[in-house]
Structure formats: C-alpha cells, structure tokens
C-alpha cells in the first residue's frame, strides 16, 4: 500500500498539522511516511500545502506531481491541484469559499462542509480534524487506535487534554463527507 | 679599573633586569622603535606574574602582529582579518575557566572587524581586547586606517586624510565604552617608562576583570609607527604626543562600578 496525498488550503487552516497527525499515526502503525510542506513567505497568510506519503515500503520521492488523493480547502488550491489527482483517485474539498467546483469525471469527488459545521457547533479549532475524519472514512489507511497515538505524539503535552475533542471531530467528519456527482 | 669578564657579568647575583621567560628567545619582527614589542612584553609579564600561562589563550590578528604567536610562549590562534573577537567569544564560552585575549590593530579591530568588535563588546563576553592604535596599516605598507588623523598622510591618502572624501577617524574606544557589555575601557601608551607601567597595570586589571566575568575589558594602546609615519622613533613619539593624544586622549574612559 502506498497512499500519496496533497493537502492544500490557507495558512492557519491547520493544513500542515493535519498532515503531521496523519504522518505520525502512520509511523505508530509501523508504516513509512514522509511529510513535505511548501515553505517560505507564501505560508504567511497565503496558501499552504503539504505532501504526505504513507506506505508499506521505503518511500522514494517525497515530492510528487500526481496524487492518489487531494484534500482541498480553498479556491486557489482547487485551481492548482484538481488536475494533479491520478485517474481514479480522490478529491475531497470543503465547499466553504469555493466558487468553481471540481469538474473532472475520471476521479472520485467528495465534499465535506467541515468549516460550516465546525462554526455551527463551536469546534473551529479542530476543523482540520473533521476533514481528516472525512478522508479516513474513504481511505482508512490508519486505524483509529493509531490516530489516537499519532495525536498523542504530535500534540505537545500541554494540549493532550484536547485529544478527546480532536477525536470527536474526526467522528463528525466521517459522517459529514458526501460524494459529489459531476454532471 | 679591573676588567670584568663575561662570565662575571652573567652571574645570577649580578642580574638586575631580564625579559620574562614567556617571551620566546627570538628577535621580534617589528621595526626598531615600534611599540608592539613593549606591549608584548607587558602582556607576558602580566601573564607570568599572575602565573596563568597554562590558563591563557591568545588570538593574533592580521596586521603587523599577525606573527605574535611566534614571540609569545602561550597557546595561540591566528584569526582571519578582523574576526579575533568571534574566536575569543567561542573559546571563552567553551572554556570559561580560561583567560582569553585578542591582540588587534586599528585596521583589524576598527575597520574590517567592526561588527565582531561591537557585538562581542555588546554581548559582554568575558574577554580582554588589546587594541594597538597607530593610525595606519603598518604591515601592508602604510595605507590609511580607520583611525588615521585628519590631514595625516598615508600611502592611500598621500596628500593627507581629507575628511570630506575619506570620512572621519573612528573613536571606536569611546564607542565601545557606551555598550553595556564592556566593564573597563581605557587608553594608554608605551612611549615613556611611566606610561609603560600604567599600561601594564591596565592589562593586569583587564585580565582580572575578565576572569571575574565582568564583561569585556578593552585596553587601547596609542602607539607610534615610525616606519609608516616616515619618522625616526624619537620624532614619531613626539608627533604622537602632539597629534594623536589630543584626538585620542589617554586615560580611563570607563571603569567598573563597584
């Protein structure tokens, strides 16, 4: 199994930390992982993205052109990454702020309105975990048990009290994600 | 009067004065009349009297004293031009139990090494900086230095330093005295026996303060460069008194508050 993912959105949406939790969970489940962020001034207020690879084998290139899954959280990222999803791959997006929805018919498209839901129920800080939950529903590449271990490892000790909240968000995300039919 | 033989003269009981053993037994490479040799000697006398040879690490600069390690019988490092305070910073931080000093000229300390000088002084490194200011680049053949006086001639200001074109002489000693990291900033000379004794006392005080972790002790010695100034040693000392001292007045600029 090798899963190559791009997660992209605005800086501050928790793109990098979502990737980090996924990567750490992969390690806990004894998988090979890599996490390669965009870096530099574009991260300050602009777009941020991270390539995460989780695999049973040694990972070759940490930098990729095509992905099994793209998780897209803003319009710029939609424009940039829709066409980088491999044929038959997955595109997951949050509809908040999206003005041009995906149009490809050769991939599986899913929508998760996590931003709306998170603000509705007052869980905006763990919005990214909802999105991660939605992804894991489609691609359970790491089990819930190891996601918890990944959270423990990647969150600093002083934030461990927030782990239940994160897990709750993941569960909500699993229910929130819906397939989109491109006509 | 009876002839005194060589053997009698060198008998220990006839010894009235000798150079310190910490000066290596070889001819100095400095021009006759230059102040470097005297400062070297005062430095080594202080180290001998404090009995700190095994605890002292010195840093030679680029300039006339680039070969200082040839004459001083202590462990020494030779630094890239201007960087001696950076070396000293690391040595003292890695070996806080040592005495660490730099020995630098005006070009090294106040031109190319200004950043290292200011920042080592500002951080308050517990080191001694000995600064020889003769207002000229001696080793490279008498070019203008940051401390060359207005109107003073050098090979790169052959008609005298024109401050409109070449800027002003830098009083870096006064400048470092304003920094919180310096504890003792003083200016001396070695052109008369009385001044030599004062310089030696200042060097000793500087070593003691640095060991007590008081910050940077900065000892400037205004010196002559009879070769570079194209004068005899005697003329150069007189010229120094008349021209250098008014611009670079001798005395303490900053003393530690008790």
């Amino acid at each position: 199994m090798t899963e190559e993912i791009i997660i992209a959105g605005f800086g501050g949406q928790g793109v990098l930390s979502m990737g980090k939790i996924l990567a750490y969970s992969g390690i806990m489940q004894n998988k090979e992982v890599s996490w390669m962020p965009s870096y530099g001034p574009e991260m300050r207020g602009g777009t941020a993205n991270v390539t995460v690879i989780v695999s049973d084998e040694r990972i070759s290139s940490p930098v990729l052109n095509l992905f099994d899954t793209a998780i897209i959280l803003n319009q710029q990222s939609m424009d940039k990454f829709e066409n980088t999803v491999k044929k038959g791959g997955y595109l997951i997006y949050d509809g908040n702020g999206i003005t041009r929805h995906p149009v490809r018919k050769d991939i599986n498209i899913y929508r998760i309105d996590a931003a709306d839901e998170a603000s509705k129920i007052g869980l905006t800080k763990v919005f990214n975990m909802m999105v991660l939950g939605g992804y894991l529903k489609l691609k359970p590449i790491v089990s819930d048990e190891y996601i918890r271990k990944g959270l423990e490892k990647s969150l600093p000790m002083r934030h461990h009290s927030l782990i239940p909240e994160n897990e709750k968000a993941i569960e909500i995300g699993k229910k929130l994600i819906k397939p989109v039919q491109v006509l | 009067m009876a002839e005194i033989t060589r053997e009698e003269i060198i008998k220990p009981e006839n010894l009235v004065y000798k150079k310190t053993d910490l000066l290596v037994d070889r001819a100095l490479s400095y021009c006759p009349g230059c102040g470097h040799g005297t400062v070297h000697r005062m430095l080594m006398e202080v180290i001998e009297e404090m009995d700190i040879q095994s605890q002292t690490i010195g840093i030679a600069p680029v300039g006339c004293s680039v070969l200082a390690y040839e004459f001083l019988d202590i462990d020494m490092q030779q630094a890239a031009h201007g960087r001696a305070p950076a070396l000293a910073t690391a040595i003292k931080r890695l070996m806080p139990e040592k005495y660490v000093f730099t020995y630098q000229g005006d070009g090294d300390l106040a031109a190319i090494g200004t950043a290292e000088t200011i920042h080592a002084c500002n951080r308050g490194e517990n080191i001694v900086i000995i600064f020889i200011n003769n207002g000229i680049y001696g080793m490279t053949g008498g070019q203008m230095a940051p401390t060359t006086l207005p109107g003073m001639k050098a090979s790169t200001c052959p008609y005298g330093r024109d401050t409109q074109i070449m800027g002003n002489p830098l009083k870096i000693t006064e400048l470092v005295a304003t920094l919180p990291g310096t504890c003792y900033v003083t200016r001396h000379s070695v052109h008369t026996p009385a001044n030599v004794r004062k310089t030696k006392r200042a060097i000793r005080k500087a070593f003691e303060l640095s060991y007590a972790n008081k910050g940077v002790s900065f000892v400037e010695v205004v010196s002559n460069c009879n070769s570079g100034w194209k004068m005899t040693p005697v003329q150069s000392n007189k010229w120094m008194e008349e021209n250098m001292f008014p611009y670079y007045p001798l005395g303490d600029i900053k003393v530690p508050t008790v």
Binding site: K20, S60, S61 | I57, A90, I91
Partner: protein, 360 residues
C-alpha cells in the same frame, strides 16, 4: 530500542548534534534552515549536555566562532544556506588551512545572489571544489533522507577529527523541511578535557610545562614550508579518496542505463527508476553519498556495463562534470536539471532519459 520520531530534516540535524556530544553551535538565521537554531534554543542543550548555542551577529562571525572553538579541540558546528555559506567561505578556507575539524551544514537554496528560498543543488561546485580561496577540499556528505540527516552528523564529526579537516553536510530545502521518521541514536557524552588532550594534542587548551605551546594558524610566509604544508594536505585528500568513498547503488545489477543523482534528486530518481522499469526500461541509480571524495571507481565500472548515464541535479550541470571525468569518455553522460527552486518530477526524468539517452 532506539527512539523513533517524526522530524524535519533540520530538526533531526540539531537533535543529532546534541546526541553526538557536540560542544558548540554558532549560527545565524536564514531560510530554509532556521529551524536548526530555533530547535536548539527550544531544547536548551546548554542546560543538559552543556553544548553552547549562540546566535552570532553574522555568518562571518559564526564560522569564526567555530574556528575558535575547533582550535580548542571542541566539536563545533554551524549551519546556513547558500548566501550565508558564501559568507562563511573565508573562515572555511582558514579552517582547512589550519587543519581544524568542524561540521558545516549547507541547506541549499537556489542562486546566484539572493536567488530563492526554494530548494536547489547549485552549491555542488562550491562544496566539492573548495569553495573559498586556496587549494583545499572539504569532506562532503549528501543525505537523501531525514534519517541520514541525523546519521551523518556523528559521521561528519568522526571524519572531521580523523582527518583534521572541515566536513560539510550538503543538503537542501527538500530534505531540510520535510518530515520523516527517524531513529535517534543514544546520547554520547561530550568529551572531557582529558579526552580532548588525548584526541587533539594540537589543540590550544593552555600551554602546560610538559609541552611546547600549541599554535593554530594557516599562515607560513616561508614558501618552502607552505609548499610542504599544501603537499601534506594533498596526501590527506588522497587518503580520503582511498578510504572514505560512500555511495548507494539501486537496481544497478541488470541496468542498461544509469541515473546518477545525490540528495533529494536521488529520491526523485528512485521513483523514476520504478516508473521506467514499469515501462520495461532497465535503469539503475547510483547515488553518491560522499560528494568529496567522489565515487569515481564505481562509476567507471558501471560505464562498462550501461549504454548511457543521465545525471539529475537541481543545477545547470555541476556533478555531471565529475561523472564525465570518472567515466572518461567510456559512455555518453548527459545532464538534466531544474533551476530556481523547481524540483524535477519523476515523470520528466523518465521522459528525458528516453529522449536524451535511450532515443538518441
């Protein structure tokens, strides 16, 4: 069991240095390697192992602090990225001349000039051919994973002290910024003064009565002596070439074509090998791990086996010159590069291999 962590390459280097018993780090911030100094300041090794950490006023000061510390026989290191490494070159040359062991990390970004903060490999020449003035070489290690970032820190110190020569870890923004899992080695205590006296009797630690004074200098105004010094340096570099060549061969046994790449480019080429083999092209990868000494002999041997070689580098073609020297005209060697911070992708590597080497 060794400790397993998910770390950025830059963090792994910093953690590895603490664990390797390093005595002092002196640095200056520059993207994409500032995490090194930041990580050290968070960890505060000066309170645990006693390692000194200091943010210097410039790269120039930082490398000269390393010079001062290394002259005392201490394990000192610095890190920077391309423009900062250019500033350090004077100090590096002095250290090579004065035969001082130290570690310099270059997390390369694209140039020339201020260039870009994105990854590049355009400092290959600077790292492997000397970099500063004068006849000298650095030992140059090129990690291709976060694990190797950590592993090469103690290795670099070991080699630096073995040869009394500065060693460089030449990496780039990809390896520096990415996170992978790392097995961290156990803590090695810092050397005691007694150990330093034994390992580095040349060090300036304060002259005691039982020995002559120690002098650290790169100066000798006597040309005959200076010539002898340069020749002794040459013997040292020759010994490195005889003993320290490190490389990795991937799928080379039946290879008809060869990719040659180091660092992050080698990772991309690994994927390209898989893609090419899926298309039925028998291609292998030789990854130099030491860039100096360069794996000339393994390349020369492979030149008798393969029909062509392609180097993949994020530069205009630097390592390709060493590959051509190594194979000495035996096979065709071409170069493929991307510039200005653009990372080549595996698909285009295969494409170039097909057009420039196989189809040509």
């Amino acid at each position: 069991m060794k400790e397993l962590r998910l770390m950025k390459g830059n963090e792994a280097i910093a953690e590895a240095a603490i664990r390797a018993g390093a005595d002092g780090y002196f640095g200056y911030p520059i993207t994409p390697q500032s995490e090194i100094l930041e990580y050290l300041m968070v960890q505060k090794p000066y309170e645990t192992t006693g390692m000194v950490v200091l943010q210097a006023e410039s790269e120039v000061a930082a490398i000269n602090m390393v010079y001062g510390g290394a002259s005392c026989g201490k394990k000192c290191w610095t890190s920077s990225s391309s423009p900062g490494i250019s500033l350090k070159q004077e100090g590096i040359s002095y250290m090579a001349g004065a035969e001082l062991p130290a570690l310099i990390v270059n997390v390369v970004r694209g140039g020339p000039g201020l260039g870009t903060i994105q990854p590049s490999q355009s400092d290959y020449f600077q790292a492997t051919k000397g970099g500063g003035h004068g006849d000298y070489r650095l030992l140059v290690l090129a990690p291709a994973s976060v694990q190797e970032m950590a592993d090469f820190v103690p290795l670099a110190f070991e080699l630096a002290f073995k040869y009394r020569n500065p060693a460089m870890i030449l990496t780039d923004g990809v390896i520096g910024q990415m996170m992978e899992k790392v097995e961290l080695q156990e803590f090695v205590p810092r050397w005691t003064q007694e150990e330093i006296n034994k390992i580095s009797p040349w060090a300036t630690t304060g002259k005691t009565r039982d020995r002559e004074r120690n002098i650290i200098t790169s100066l000798d105004l006597d040309s005959n002596k200076q010539e002898r010094h340069v020749l002794s340096l040459e013997r040292k570099y020759k010994a490195m070439e005889d003993n320290e060549v490190r490389f990795e061969k991937i799928q080379c046994d039946d290879a008809e074509y060869l990719l040659v790449a180091f660092g992050s480019s080698a990772r991309i080429c690994q994927k390209a090998v898989d893609l090419a083999r899926a298309k039925g092209i028998k291609v292998g990868l030789l990854r130099p791990i030491t860039l100096f000494p360069f794996p000339k002999i393994p390349l020369y041997k492979l030149a008798h086996q393969v029909k062509g070689m392609l180097t993949v580098e994020m530069n205009l073609g630097q390592m390709v010159e060493d590959v051509r020297l190594a194979v000495n005209g035996k096979v065709k060697v071409e170069h493929f590069g991307r510039y200005g911070g653009i990372i080549p992708n595996p698909e285009e590597v295969v494409n170039i291999l097909e057009t420039k080497i196989i189809g040509a």
